[in-house]
């Protein structure tokens, strides 16, 4: 591959990879099905590459991708009405705008710092908590299977996971505020 277009695509790919945590979290938070979320993330790239091939100049790639992702999410919601809460369209639209605002404020480097902090926080978890997280987030086990595997009731397993995630979130915030290696 040679010439200006491949270089443009390669630069865009590099930035896309750098931004993927934030964009993935944005889509993943809004779309219930993780596979659908992954498909949407890939669709954003396909559209970005197509625009660049057409010669479109994209000044702020992160914002452009988020805008495309937002439209794709909206379309996904329209096709999968059952996957979103029963709410009036205005509230949903406002929610989408406000979430987009959250991610506009974030810098890719801050995501990298947060993920590094999260890595340390996961490392410091008790084995039992890490095992619960592994079952849920790594092995994609459903709550019934987690309850059966751990000997907890369905509700207890669900509450334990919520508590562990809240602890991790607090841990990440404390590490970011106090310096990453605190």
């Amino acid at each position: 591959m040679s010439g200006p277009l491949p270089k443009l695509l390669n630069d865009a790919a590099s930035q896309f990879i750098r931004d993927r945590h934030l964009l993935g979290a944005f889509i993943g938070g809004l779309v219930r099905d993780s596979h659908a979320a992954e498909d949407l993330l890939q669709e954003v790239w396909v559209r970005l590459a197509a625009e660049l091939e057409k010669g479109t100049s994209i000044l702020n790639q992160a914002a452009w991708c988020r805008g495309v992702a937002k439209n794709l999410v909206r379309r996904h919601w329209e096709k999968n009405q059952r996957s979103i809460p029963t709410a009036d369209p205005d509230s949903l639209s406002l929610f989408l705008d406000r979430v987009e605002h959250c991610f506009q404020e974030a810098h890719p480097d801050s995501a990298t710092d947060r993920i590094a902090a999260l890595d340390q926080c996961v490392d410091s978890l008790p084995d039992r908590s890490r095992r619960l997280l592994t079952l849920r987030y790594h092995l994609n086990a459903d709550m019934d299977s987690i309850a059966a595997e751990t000997g907890l009731s369905f509700e207890a397993a669900k509450k334990a996971l919520i508590r562990i995630r809240a602890e991790l979130m607090d841990c990440v915030q404390n590490r970011i505020r106090g310096g990453l290696w605190a």
């Binding site: 591959m1 993943g28 938070g29 396909v46 809460p85 406000r98 999260l118 890490r130 790594h138």
Partner: protein, 330 residues
Amino acid sequence: MNSIDLVETLERWKDGTLAGADLERLNHALESADFRTRLLDTWLLDHSLPGILARHSIQSDLPAPGTSRRVLRNPLLKTFGAAAAGLLLGLFSASYVFGKAAFPHRKVVPLLNESFESGPTPGQNGIPVVPNRWSGDFSRVVDAQQGVQPNSGKRMLQLCRADYEGKHPGFSYSADIYRIVPIPKGLTGLGEASVTCEAQCSSVPFAEAKRYGISLILCALDALPDSAEPGAWKPGSAQPEPHPSENAELVSASARRSLSLDPRGMTWQPLRLEMRLPAGTRYLLMSFHLADHQAGRNPRESGATEFPGHFLDSIQVNLVQDASASNPRP
């Protein structure tokens, strides 16, 4: 709103159980910069956790570099480790899209494209010992059934019962079907190789949400069992019968993915899994396990669970080879 309240609220958002009034409260809370930061943290956490947990799992479970294959004593840990390798790959699966434009060195080799339109009737006598044949518990190839249309073509596979001919007379609540897929020689020796598997799953409607779940398990094998008996897959005599992934002598890597079937039924849900293949892999043992969790919670002395209408179709297995990894380094 503290962290637990926030996680609970966002959990309900993801579950689709957040009430309209709660969404308005969420919108109101998002006016606060602090709350916006916390929402971002929560979603970034959810997005990053699988990869971080996979790394932790790999670090703790996989053999150290330079050592030969280690037989892990805890078969579950072994499965975790192998699944981690597959999942790490999945985290960067967006790169498959980039492949068209920026990474032309990826090569995709189709290994199986099954829509049950032709081929031998699935065996009903447990795990197969020969490649290219479906076998396992009682199943049958059917046309459109009870309102469920095949996902592709005119036929699909129905998983009927949680036992097979000659199975020991114990209680079981999981209907299993297996297939051995040969990996062509030389394809896993050069560069990084992985397999991707995608299948479509459907059922008739049922009352209790999350009652039925289906898992896909992939196992990488260097060779097939010596014995021609299906029992050769099973380590020891543990009961209930262990999955072949627990047989560390035969299986060099494994990965698993599960999904809960939609109780509204009648639609097809995709089940996808990727797994990195160790060099020298000659066969892939692919299996689907349909579980009735309600039956599992209320075990009987004996007897196999029957399934009223649960189907598989459009099963595709591809080998993805990254030839660039085989280039000699300066």
